[in-house]
Amino acid sequence: MAEQQVLNKNEEQKPQAKMVTVFIMGQKYEVPEGSTILNAIEYAGYQLKKGLGCREGFCGACATVYRLPGDYKLRGGLACQTVVQEGMYLAQIPFTPAQKAIYDIEEVKPDISTFQKYYPEAFRCLGCNACSKVCPQELKVMDYIQAIMRGDIELAADLSFDCIMCGLCTMRCPAEMAQYNIALLARRLYGKYMMPKPEFLYKRIEEIEQGKFEDEFKEIMSLSPEELKKRYAERDINFKIT
């Protein structure tokens, strides 16, 4: 892989990797076996400016669709997380055209009416499960949409939590909804309105606003470097108390 060639020039030459044939956006290349799709594209000579991001499976920028020889199925995956296979033909989807509602989080209500208003298309779900099948995070996408249709925001927030918003579900949906944006609204409603409130947090903020720690700060910030080091070395490390 190109990235490793850059970084390992001082290491011993590794045994010659076996090569596999892949078709990147229709063009044929030989790339080392075991490469991720992203490494394969770079090995082939591309410097990507779109369709990639964190390279570690968190940002959802490198959605890719592919087929394997002799298989009718259109599969989806993240380029940075999917290993190439012999004969794979693939296309990157750097951008998903999708509906994103504009709303005021202070005004919306944490119930089904919000979804009826901002994302009425969610209620067109056909129950085909194409979204769940393509999800690279293996989330139960259809289930969380069905939860929203029932007004169960808590379940939708929980089931969709690991969503990286890559957009593959949306590209496959026959009801043409943007599941990932709908789920984001559900999670924001849940986090803001429905989760129990941390009482002590409010108290702590009040303490700080009232200047409760100012004297302590003044004292510790006036210490000499030696005194401060001593204070640090002698500080109590305690993970049992909260």
Partner: protein, 568 residues
């Protein structure tokens, strides 16, 4: 021999040793004992000076130009800074800006999003947020473990402050740390009110975990997608205000602009695919471009985002902004070593926060699991140097991070609930981290220093503000876990507020210039620096040059559609 799915046979004997020593280690942890004594400051100094990459003789070199001239900085940073600009001033016409706005924000990560939201709240009428990839494509999105905030009764912003100062080797700007720790509870509440699903118990109390270098349980989390959860909420909020905030994606800044008096007055952007220039005139400019992980300092792999090429540091330095603490690099102790496909990827510190233990090839503990990151990383390197690491089939070396301990301590299901991203990452390659440990080694993680700021996120250059990883002073010489997420939220917000206030004063002249670039090029020449390098580099270059060199007698790294040709 017992088999271990996902690992090659050569690694099984060592895995068996880890299993053998596990019951005793679990027993000790269950009794609430420290499984190892933390190091004294002297012991820390010793392991750092002998094994941390920053302390090797070739780690730093003197910079010959600019505001920090004569100082020792990380060598690769010096190479990056001592480069030519992407544009020649005489070739650009700045007389007809595409945007004339109150606030320009360069960088679309967490700090940039916070800055945009708060500049708007503070009254800025027009805001442009320009970013190299998409908004949210940033290290902010990748942070897994959490955010520090003193939200427990037995903790306080002062205790947090002392932890940060000690972790940073007391080189931090104390007043910045005071802001950081004092505003942490407030920013926690702000994010919660935007809808961030902080992990809470059934009464609503925020769940807290220990982190490296902390003296209390202070790590807030949202499973192990903490950064992603925060970033996707902030991004959504930015997108809810299209009337006030214009987001320009795939449009990095390639140079700042100044007025006749040298005050910053906007930036020149370039669309990465078409090469189109976009001129933005702005009364305040905020840099939130993140750090330098993709420079692969000293050949290390990185946990960082593709765009982490220190663009903002380059732009600010060229316009005269001072840097600080750019002589230290944070290596995260636990980067993945195996399987090969995820080499260098981040294994969250939360694994150790939950009780995961680092052990050597014989299954022996060798370091307190929650030392500050530089100390922990140096200890791992020392253990491998002693020959007590584990070697992979491709010749890489690492130590074990024993994750099954977590479920023995906190019950089955803990990993699925608390570390879903890690579980998924390894599961993709056939390894179940509930049953087998992960092999780890330090990986390039964070830019400790950056462009020096004050509490108002101002730099020494008028109208230029900086927040997040691009800034310097908050973390001193070493950042603690959970403080970068805190930093980009606290100081991103501040940058938005103070940039908006500054914009109201309208402190820029009419004419836009690139005079500082002329001055810069002259300075390079006078210092006798001859280089073909240009910066900001925008992207690292991982193309396979062997293929591109084929049949060419001479090779130009700018061949094809590459933006930089920045390769070793």
């Amino acid at each position: 021999m017992k088999s271990f799915p996902g690992y090659p046979e050569s690694m099984w004997p060592s895995l068996e040793m880890v299993e053998k020593t596990r019951p005793k280690r679990v027993e000790r942890a269950k009794q609430g004992l420290k499984i190892m004594e933390p190091m004294t400051l002297e012991e820390r100094d010793e392991v750092l000076s002998k094994y941390h990459p920053d302390y090797q003789p070739d780690a730093r070199k003197e910079i010959r130009v600019g505001p920090n001239k004569g100082e020792l900085l990380t060598a690769k940073v010096v190479d990056l800074l001592e480069s030519h600009a992407r544009v020649k001033p005489e070739e650009v016409d700045l007389s007809n800006p595409d945007f004339d706005v109150d606030v320009l924000i360069i960088g679309g990560g967490g700090a940039g999003a916070q800055a945009a939201i708060w500049a708007m709240k503070e009254g800025a009428k027009s805001i442009v947020l320009a970013t190299k990839l998409r908004i949210g494509d940033a290290n902010s999105m990748m942070s897994q473990g959490g955010m520090q905030a003193a939200v427990n009764p037995h903790d306080s912003p002062v205790i947090h402050w002392l932890d940060v100062m000690g972790g940073g080797h007391f080189a931090n700007k104390p007043e910045l740390v005071k802001v950081l720790t004092s505003e942490a509870p407030f920013i926690t509440k702000f994010l919660m009110e935007l809808g961030v699903m902080w992990d809470r118990d059934e009464t609503g109390h925020l769940q807290t975990k220990p982190g490296g270098g902390t003296s209390r349980r202070r790590m807030l989390s949202a499973r192990d997608y903490t950064g992603a959860e925060i970033m996707r909420v902030l991004r959504d909020e930015v997108k809810n205000h299209p009337d006030r905030i214009t987001v320009l994606e795939y449009s990095p800044a390639i140079e700042l602009l100044t007025d006749e008096e040298g005050r910053v007055a906007g930036a020149l952007l370039m669309q990465t695919e078409t090469g189109e220039f976009i001129v933005v005139r702005a009364k305040s400019t905020v840099i939130t471009t993140g750090g330098f992980g993709r420079l692969h300092i000293k050949g290390f792999p990185t946990t960082n985002h593709y765009g982490a090429t220190a663009d903002g540091v380059v732009l600010a330095y060229r316009v005269g902004a001072r840097l600080r603490d750019m002589d230290t690099v944070q290596f995260h102790p636990t980067g993945a070593v195996f399987p090969e496909q995820i080499w260098g990827f981040l294994i969250t510190e939360k694994v150790r926060g939950l009780g995961g233990q680092p052990v050597n090839k014989n299954g022996e503990l060798f370091v307190f699991p929650l030392e500050p990151r530089d100390v922990e990383a140096a200890s791992f390197i020392r253990e491998c140097a002693k020959g007590l690491g584990v070697t992979t089939p491709t010749g890489r070396v690492g130590i074990w991070l024993d994750s099954p301990v977590i479920e023995e301590l906190s019950g089955p299901g803990t990993i699925e609930k608390q570390l879903p991203a890690m579980l998924r990452q390894f599961h993709r390659f056939g390894i179940d981290i509930r049953k087998t440990p992960m092999l780890v080694y330090p990986t390039l993680h964070y830019q400790n220093g950056g462009i020096e700021i004050n509490e108002r996120t101002e730099t020494n250059v008028p109208n230029l503000f900086v927040a997040g990883e691009a800034s310097g002073g908050v973390h001193g010489k070493n950042r603690l876990m959970g403080n970068s997420v805190l930093d980009y939220n606290v100081f991103g917000r501040r940058a938005g507020i103070f940039a908006a206030q500054n914009a109201a004063k309208n402190n820029i002249g009419k004419k836009l210039t690139l005079k500082h670039v002329e001055k810069w090029e002259k300075e390079l020449e006078e210092a006798g620096i001859k280089t073909k390098k240009i910066s900001p580099i925008l992207f690292p270059d991982y193309r396979n040059f062997e293929i591109l060199k084929k049949h060419r007698k001479e090779f130009d790294p700018f061949i094809g559609f590459a933006l930089t040709g920045w390769q070793e």
